[in-house]
């Protein structure tokens, strides 16, 4: 079980959190084409390497935040606010 550093509560076990997958996905405007909307809804990268993802401290303060995690080693490379730009790029090994 991983540990994550909640920006509000500090280091806690993974079981207190919920992961919602890839972050920094722009929501298309209503005028988006079906193809664009489909891309937004259904298509995700599945990198072997650094993945930028959204987590929520569901069984704690409820805060959503971003995490840069290595999908093989589970090393947490960064934890940053929902509205912050990524501090490092998502890179596949």
């Amino acid at each position: 079980m991983m540990q994550l550093e909640c920006p509000c509560c500090g280091r806690r076990d993974e079981s207190e959190f919920v992961c919602a997958g890839t972050t920094h996905i722009a929501r298309p405007p209503p005028a988006a084409s079906d193809a664009q909307w489909g891309e937004y809804l259904f298509f995700r990268d599945n990198p072997k390497g650094v993945h930028l993802e959204r987590w929520r401290h569901s069984y704690g303060c409820g805060l959503w935040f971003n995490v840069a995690r290595h999908t093989v080693t589970h090393e947490i490379l960064a934890v940053y606010a929902m509205t912050d730009p990524p501090p490092l790029p998502a890179v596949a090994d």
């Binding site: 079980m1 209503p30 988006a32 079906d34 909307w37 080693t73 929902m82």
Partner: protein
């Protein structure tokens, strides 16, 4: 007598003054305090202990530790029965009762052994190949009955278990001298240190020897404040250095109190882990190497030294390593006759042949005599041709395998460490440190004592200081060769005893082109089971390498996945059993309902009244009676579990417009509106009523089941997407009770009970909310209805709910009112055709499918899910749409889940029944259904198929009752 108890002083761990009585397969035997079941059985000359998994071959004690593949027993009977306990780990207790596994009627005469005669029909992967004609299903039940090991208990476990979390700077796994030295060094350097060992005595492989250094280290570790947990086996290492361990707290059998604290699960978060888990001995492969009386050489040495038990009188040692000679000397000193050391290496170590010990180099055991106990063996030179003769016959009752050592690299691998092959000693060792973990001692491949102690001390100190660990001085294991089978023999040579996997099975897998060691494992089942191949994995992959012309390093190992040793389900469940397995919520007025005849059932997370049956009345009859009474008089219902959220903030109105299909920003204060909540796919995830309490203040009722997910959706959109909106969402579900009064006499009842006149139907319209008070208790009264009748949902602080129920109930007789439960409510909402999200919708249902298309085009806000509603698939006229159904005969019930199709299957399914019931008002069955193109099919007759019966039904418009909706206005 072959195996027996040795005379005093042999046996450091046993207490000869404390005999213990126990039973084995009903036979009364006697052992000593300090014995394990295995040592006690051997002391009683019991050599046949169990039967094998697949072929029911006789098996005996094979090892003296947790690697035991064969001597498995079921301990105790009834609720306390624990299956597949390793006899070599089971501490003997007075009154212990055990049974052999996988045999009937008994271990000596086992009818299942007939399968051994059919071994040719049961090769690796036989369940994919044989027994296929005419059908596997014909054979499966009896094959499943024949296979398997112990029997699980069927009654609830009388004992309890607990779970503890801990953290430390340095965690040492293993209590041998390397582990003790590392822990002492880490503690001395100031680290908060813990040490776990599965054993009952410190010292690891030296624990039963009089080793002053090991004892001194054990004392030092305690004096330095290391937290030492004995009988605590670390069974897994998980992400970010979480080590899980199981502490054994009570005897496993014998005379126990009614309930004991049996085991404790430790979850330890360690900054750094030091693995000091030791090594296992590898067995040799030769024909019939599974017979009772064949065992690991190190085990026989330990049985003699620790338990004072001789495993036989005349021993032959099959050797592939230098350790065989030390074992031979020790056993000879204990009084065993060593017939010969049969060394498969062409050269025996220098000096060993001169010591009077008979050594046969370059030779192997080619046959074993005796089925239920070894009676002798034949040995022959390796490399001789097929005509090199029969070899030599040796009479013996014990054959010991000394095949070399296999470091226990499990934790290292689980931490993500890599392995390298040391060909001199034919073993895999850790290739450097793993992330967050360093191995020391035998599990690091360091077998010379001084080097191991120095390295472990340096590692302990380095990790305590956050420095890099020094490289392990691998060596000292001596010379051994990769073990393969004895060529040219037809008798089975077992690689994996527990799963009956022989060298022939591995060869078959190789012939069938299984090359990956992971595939080999799954196809042959080698390395599975309770021992997870502790004594078989290395031999299996060496053999696989030989058959496919690859070096062991190229073949690689299977993943060493946790758990390292079997863990009971009780330990993992801990306290999360019975009512704590899934705690249910109770209504604030639960006791009041219970005292008024409620029949409680579980709905989602809640215990709620399903109905209030009269004496002798069925649930169905009660629901009919209650619903009819609400329609004609009035009824009282507890709606407290309904989800409740309060929203505050300047942007609350804008936010609700973004979340719901309905427009909430145009609500006047005191007005309420129905809303559908969608996800981004346009799918309905919840519905509810939104009421405006103030300019910047809203009250949101969600469904009961949807309270959590609606809150979660609100928070996610606010924090992740609409980050500029100023809104505070507060869940208040358990803060507010909900007392619902419904029926034509509802207001008369409330008026008589003292509610203010402003709440009367003519001054407070349907779908409005008014803040009121009753004797100082604040109320939020919502005029809404899920029954279709005049309805008041009185929200009030939860601790006042019981008092309000009591107050209203005092006047119930005046209006002829009843209490009604969920069942009656469901009937009434069905009569009204009201949607029940999750029953009448699924993961594809869009608003237009359930009659809420209107108004969406006109709405300005880009609400969640909106764009998905304009996809071509969302506009398909043949989508599943919600309709009403009635049976044509007016009598036959339409079952929920029944398929709508033109004829009996196979047929194209046009839809399905989603809600169903007998209408109290119409006195006939009615149903809701999702039907392809349903809204265009009113009046059409369809066939409803359920469990082989077709029922004709007609598609109708809803509501079934009061289609103009006049009744809700009172």
């Amino acid at each position: 007598m072959a195996s027996r108890r040795l005379g005093s002083p042999a046996g450091r761990w046993i207490d000869r003054s404390q005999p213990l009585g126990f039973t084995f397969n009903g036979r009364r035997l006697s052992g000593l305090r300090g014995d394990t079941l295995a040592s006690a059985l051997l002391a009683n000359d019991v050599r046949l202990v169990g039967r094998s998994f697949k072929l029911h071959r006789p098996r005996g004690v094979w090892s003296c530790g947790l690697e035991e593949p064969s001597a498995l027993v079921d301990v105790d009977e009834g609720a306390r029965r624990t299956p597949n306990v390793r006899a070599s780990r089971l501490v003997l207790e007075e009154g212990l009762s055990v049974r052999s596994v996988n045999c009937w009627p008994g271990v000596a005469f086992d009818l299942g052994a007939l399968t051994g005669a059919c071994a040719a029909l049961l090769p690796a992967g036989f369940y994919y190949k044989t027994f296929m004609w005419p059908s596997w299903r014909l054979f499966e039940p009896s094959i499943r009955r024949m296979a398997g090991l112990g029997r699980a208990p069927t009654e609830p476990d009388p004992d309890h278990y607990e779970e503890v979390a801990a953290e430390c700077d340095v965690l040492v796994v293993g209590g041998g001298i390397s582990g003790l030295a590392a822990a002492a060094a880490a503690a001395r350097a100031g680290a908060r240190t813990m040490l776990l060992t599965g054993a009952a005595h410190p010292g690891g492989a030296l624990a039963w020897r009089a080793d002053d250094e090991a004892q001194g280290l054990a004392r030092a570790v305690r004096q330095l404040g290391v937290r030492v947990l004995m009988r605590t086996l670390a069974f897994g290492l998980y992400n970010h250095n979480l080590v899980a361990a199981c502490e054994s707290l009570a005897a496993e059998g014998g005379e126990l109190p009614a309930s004991v604290l049996r085991e404790r699960l430790w979850k330890i978060r360690a900054r750094r882990v030091i693995a000091a888990a030791g090594a296992f001995e590898r067995p040799l492969l030769f024909p019939d190497n599974d017979r009772p009386g064949v065992m690991l050489a190190g085990a026989a040495v330990k049985y003699a030294g620790a338990y004072g038990v001789a495993c036989g009188r005349r021993a032959v040692i099959a050797a592939n390593s230098d350790s065989a000679y030390a074992a031979a000397r020790e056993l000879a000193q204990s009084g065993l006759e060593i017939v010969a050391v049969i060394d498969r290496r062409s050269e025996a170590p220098k000096g060993e042949t001169a010591s009077g010990l008979r050594v046969v180099p370059g030779a192997v055991v080619t046959a074993v005599a005796g089925t239920r106990a070894v009676q002798g063996c034949r040995v022959a030179r390796l490399g001789g041709g097929p005509r090199s003769g029969q070899g030599e016959w040796l009479e013996c009752d014990l054959i010991l395998s000394a095949g070399g050592l296999a470091p226990a690299v499990h934790l290292h691998s689980q931490a993500g460490g890599k392995l390298r092959w040391v060909s001199e000693s034919a073993m895999f060792v850790p290739d450097g440190a793993a992330p967050g973990l360093v191995s020391v001692g035998a599990c690091a491949g360091v077998f010379s004592r001084d080097a191991a102690l120095a390295h472990a001390t340096a590692v302990g100190e380095a990790l305590a200081k956050g420095a890099a660990a020094p490289t392990a001085p691998v060596g000292g294991a001596g010379r051994s060769e990769p073990i393969t089978c004895v060529p040219g023999r037809t008798s089975a040579q077992f690689v994996d005893l527990q799963n009956d996997v022989s060298a022939q099975d591995v060869a078959l897998a190789a012939r069938e082109n299984y090359r990956s060691v992971e595939h080999l494992k799954r196809y042959t089942t080698a390395g599975m089971g309770t021992d997870q191949g502790k004594t078989s994995n290395i031999n299996a992959l060496v053999l696989m390498g030989e058959l496919t012309s690859r070096a062991p390093a190229e073949v690689g190992t299977t993943r060493f996945r946790p758990p390292f040793a079997p863990v009971t389900l009780g330990a993992i469940a801990g306290r999360r059993v019975a009512s704590l397995y899934r705690p249910l919520r109770e209504l604030p007025a639960h006791a009041w309902h219970a005292s008024h005849g409620a029949l409680f059932e579980t709905f989602g997370d809640w215990r709620r009244p399903a109905a209030y049956p009269l004496p002798g009345e069925s649930l169905e009859a009660a629901a009919q009676r209650e619903a009819a009474c609400v329609r004609h008089h009035a009824g009282l219902f507890d709606g407290s579990p309904l989800g409740k959220l309060e929203l505050f903030g300047a942007d609350a109105a804008r936010f609700l417009d973004l979340m719901y299909v309905g427009t909430m920003s145009t609500l006047a204060i005191g007005q309420a509106r129905y809303g559908l909540l969608l996800n981004e796919h346009g799918t309905i995830v919840d519905d509810g009523i939104v009421a405006r309490l103030g300019d910047r203040h809203y009250w949101v009722n969600t469904t009961t089941a949807g309270a959590e997910r609606t809150l979660a959706a609100f928070e996610e959109w606010l924090q992740c997407e609409f980050t500029d909106l100023r809104v505070l969402v507060t869940p208040v579900t358990s803060r507010w009770g909900n007392v619902t009064v419904a029926g034509p006499s509802a207001w008369r009842w409330l008026e008589a009970s003292g509610f203010e006149a402003a709440l009367a139907p003519h001054s407070m319209r349907h779908m409005t909310l008014r803040e009121s008070a009753l004797e100082g208790v604040p109320l939020r009264v919502l005029r809404a209805s899920f029954t279709g009748e005049l309805g008041y949902e009185i929200n009030l602080p939860a601790d006042h709910a019981s008092a309000l129920f009591a107050r209203l109930w005092e006047r119930a007789a005046e209006v002829g009112a009843v209490l009604y439960g969920i069942e009656a409510l469901q009937l009434m909402r069905l009569e009204k055709g009201y949607l029940h999200v999750g029953s009448d919708t699924d993961g594809t249902t869009l608003p237009g499918d359930v009659g809420f298309a209107r108004g969406i085009e006109a709405k300005a806000a880009n609400f969640v899910g909106r764009r998905s509603l304009s996809r071509p698939a969302s506009r398909d006229p043949q989508r599943l749409q919600l309709v009403g159904l009635k049976p044509v005969d007016g009598r036959t019930a339409l079952h929920v889940g029944a398929h709508i199709a033109s004829h009996a299957p196979p047929a194209a399914i046009e839809g399905r029944v989603t809600s169903s019931g007998l209408s109290p008002e119409l006195a006939c069955p009615i149903a809701l259904a999702l039907l392809a193109g349903g809204t265009q099919r009113t009046g059409e007759r369809v066939q409803v198929y359920h469990l082989g019966v077709m029922t004709e039904a007609v598609v109708v418009r809803t509501p079934f009752v009061d289609p103009q909706g006049r009744r809700v206005h009172g």
